[in-house]
Symmetry: C2
Subunit: 351 residues, 2 copies
């Protein structure tokens, strides 16, 4: 009755998340012509007709792995659970249209807690114009688990994959980065303070922006609309959920190219810079490896540069090279250092 | 920093799963014309074009809530996680085409365990001709969590909802029911025996069918094909995951009709009957309230009866009445008793 215990036990840590998915799914065949793009991008692309393609993406959020309810309000959590999935849809240059939401909870959660969670989901659905079209609620033996699947649509000719970057393309990032990670550091610090002195009333007004970026991130639907308006179709695109380093490496590997990024060009909010100084951390390290920014990282053809030049939402941070040139960051001091994926989980020691 | 604690705490048990979903989603608006059918059926129906409709459904499986790894081999679990979702797609009279699979595991699982799980997923995908188009793997603080989303396609005119049953329609069930629940009883009994005497070598050969129905259920893709071949379009359909009672109540409520089911017509496998005798349980109670059979329960127009008559896969078990007549079971002794939803979880005391 009990399954055979395989004597070989390879610890999961040896693979890491991406290695694990590749390893586990490498034998899966594509059988339907409607499956245009399967595992390996931000979302799957399905083509059921001649006009629109459908994108599908899914994420699983686990208490004490992805969120800490001691400082994350449930309404914010519901909002964020939707956002992280929409961000993947927008990274395909698609418009998100529907989501399904599954939730598992232990009996320590009263109805009102779930109402808060769903209020956040509803708010995100309203703001981003999404239909919640299904889901599942069930019990959990321990904490809270949220699984969201998002579906989007996009004209066939508009889909942007990770694999289209070409040498000499410009590397462009939306908004600014590193803030969500520094917001998390503030929240973790205040949690420790609260443990020692529950009466403390911290003044967090100087951290408003970075805390909001952590607790209530937005997905860049506006950037997809902006690109459409500017008539710019990126050659490749990805959302920044694990940090700039790890995302640009995805683009380079899947596009078979190299990259040079310029430290001085990376857009940082002043609160990120001042908080990094306070924490005595290098802000570039945070920009490269801090996660959860949900900005869009893309490559565009040089000839599109005049269209985006001076736009406050988009910053050119480097350019794509031949693969043989490798992947490097050019520092403020003009040092050339290799780009390595660490990812925010490694920084954060959560996984 | 900490969210407001709402003083009102309504225990979740007061609502039950269906009440909870209704309660939590009642304010969600439908914004897209592409959302044809949202929450409230086996799957959501999306229409992105003029030819095919797309169905999407999702399920979350949690260790020690939905499965017990002390007797469920991981390969079977992976297979079953896919099947339970495909069953929902077939219940729409659709063909399943893609799935996404997300998995969270604690570090007590070695790679080989996840390989077994994915081998089961792959086997189901092969047999049912499904593309695995996405997913997420992450860590869990405790047990194993699996979230599957399935997508299917169906010609617009072929979609079957729960809401189309009409008075005088026949109630038809595929296969036989109650077996999965009795298989679970055997497995639970053997687990207790094993705890007392780990050396025991139980002879389970007389329970092969019911154990297989529990550990490795199938989804009735063949029934969707059969109905197509017989040119029968059910007026309503649902898959039997929670027990016949609860499913027929769904159909009646959503179709605004009543029903009369005949105890003597309910198809039971001989192993179910003998095992019920052994456990001194009434087999009709099990058929009505035992779950996880993944058979299809449908209603068909009387004029379609000649097309299904004598087909060994389909059994007529009753007929639809006006709503005012209520929902009843006519027993072997011609007693008329009301049909009440208990569901297998209630029977099983798992939730």
């Amino acid at each position: 009755m009990i399954e055979d215990k395989n004597p070989q036990r390879t610890p999961l840590e040896n693979l890491g998340e991406f290695g694990l998915i590749d390893h586990l799914t490498k034998n899966f065949d594509i059988k339907h012509s409607s499956t245009v793009k399967s595992i390996g991008d931000d979302a799957a692309v399905l083509d059921f007709n001649n006009n629109k393609q459908i994108v599908v993406t899914t994420d699983l959020l686990i208490e004490n792995v992805h969120f800490d309810l001691s400082y994350v309000p449930l309404k914010h959590l519901g909002y964020k659970a939707v956002i992280v999935n929409l961000s993947d849809v927008y990274a395909m240059n698609a418009i998100a249209t529907q989501i399904t939401v599954s939730v598992a909870v232990s009996n320590r959660f009263p109805l009102e807690a779930l109402e808060d969670l769903y209020a956040g989901i509803e708010t995100a659905a309203k703001i981003y114009n999404i239909d919640v079209v299904g889901g599942d609620t069930t019990s959990s033996t321990t904490g809270l688990i949220i699984s969201v699947t998002a579906i989007g649509e996009v004209a066939k000719e508009d889909v942007v994959l990770r694999s289209g970057a070409k040498a000499n393309d410009l590397v462009v990032v939306s908004g600014d980065i590193g803030a969500a990670y520094m917001g998390l550091q503030i929240l973790e610090r205040e949690k420790e303070v609260f443990k020692v002195n529950p009466q403390s009333q911290p003044d967090l007004s100087m951290y408003t922006y970075i805390i909001e970026r952590q607790l209530k991130p937005e997905a860049r639907k506006d950037i997809v609309a902006l690109l459409q308006k500017l008539k710019v179709k990126p050659t490749s695109m990805i959302d920044i959920s694990d940090g700039l380093s790890s995302e640009i490496i995805h683009i380079c590997k899947q596009s078979d190219v190299g990259v040079e990024l310029y430290e001085t060009k990376i857009p940082l909010d002043p609160q990120v810079i001042s908080t990094c100084e306070e924490f005595k951390i290098d802000s570039t390290t945070i920009a490269l490896n801090g996660g959860e920014d949900y900005e869009l990282l893309m490559t565009i053809s040089q000839e599109d540069f005049p269209k985006i030049k001076g736009n406050p939402n988009l910053t050119v941070i480097g350019y794509i090279t031949e693969k043989s040139r490798g992947m490097h960051l050019i520092t403020r001091g003009e040092q050339v250092i290799p780009i390595i994926a660490k990812g925010w989980n490694a920084l954060n020691n959560q996984e």
